[in-house]
Assembly symmetry: C2
Homo-oligomer: 225 residues x 2
Amino acid sequence: MHIFPKERTLRVAVVKNILDANTRIAQENRKLFDTHGLTVINLMSSPGAGKTTLLEQMGARFEGELKIGVIEGDIQTSLDAERVAAAGLEAVQIETDGACHLDANMVQNALSGLNLDTLDLVVVENVGNLVCPAEFKIGEDCKVMMLSVTEGDDKPYKYPLMFKESNVLLISKVDLLPYLHCDIEKIKEAARSINPDLIIFEISAYSGQGLDDWHSWIQEQTAKK
Amino acid sequence: MHIFPKERTLRVAVVKNILDANTRIAQENRKLFDTHGLTVINLMSSPGAGKTTLLEQMGARFEGELKIGVIEGDIQTSLDAERVAAAGLEAVQIETDGACHLDANMVQNALSGLNLDTLDLVVVENVGNLVCPAEFKIGEDCKVMMLSVTEGDDKPYKYPLMFKESNVLLISKVDLLPYLHCDIEKIKEAARSINPDLIIFEISAYSGQGLDDWHSWIQEQTAKK
């Protein structure tokens, strides 16, 4: 989140108002999701970690089994919504027009674009940003973050809030490990030092590695509702 | 940058104050850099695109030729400052404690940690974030952004401000292209559609590919001062 060193007092007041308002709208979203028996995942990562490719895989895997809706958050373009719609998922795009994260209000406004009565699962694909999205609840059941092995094994220490706030860590693009200077054990160790409860899956949305475990976890979450 | 839909009027007033204050401090920084005959680069990218590895390479290449100082911006840790110091560069670390970008005030405060009289070039390695850092001038001569080919070829369209604000685009990790579904020509075409004046280098800080051209460009910039 932005901090404003020269206007610190003002900043504190403004940010508190913003986060209070966000929490209130997130609670409204939460009630609506419960009414519809929906499981809602807030999916977050740096740009290009593989969120949309994973959603395409989930569309193929759960066809005829789970009805999945996707809220796509991007600063500009509807490229991702087009991709997941082509993969058979119900999709709505939020263009944030510069904003670096989705908040509860943006998600609330997007919900009219989905048929909540018929869906089992909604995945909110947040703006590609490893910092700001971690601060804003949207009414989700769980926060799932993705870190690509191409980003390096020091990232949990450098971006701790995202790892602290998330319930699940998907370590993605593991098919590229042979070509990288990245120790996946160091990622897991660092992530768990920040958040010992983190559930971790190692996946590749291209090779399919690890997706069975991830999909089983999704089935468990939707079965609870 | 964060937007606050429920407090839009307040937000406009606050953001204007912040950006005005930032511009004023950036101008102060600019004057100080000119007094010392310094070239200053604001280096920005997503997390893990390879900024620090490039700085390590520059330390080796310019040893005995250019004196380079680095201001490292990270949310937490001094890992990057330690890396570039080990590569022979003069380094100072800013821990932003949550902030998603560096601003002119943070850079001004960090300058006392460098011997400006003896340096030729200062590189400010911004917080890993493809969104927010693009909005804040810090008094730099030029903005250099890095995009790793692992992030995919659709990123210029999705994160246009960074491409629009930058003078130089470093397309990094090109040694990984054989293993990826990424068309580097699409990256260049998209980037130039947003910013026709963008200077583009294709590099790999591991294999060394393209670094000679980048280093020549650095020499040209420092020779101007």
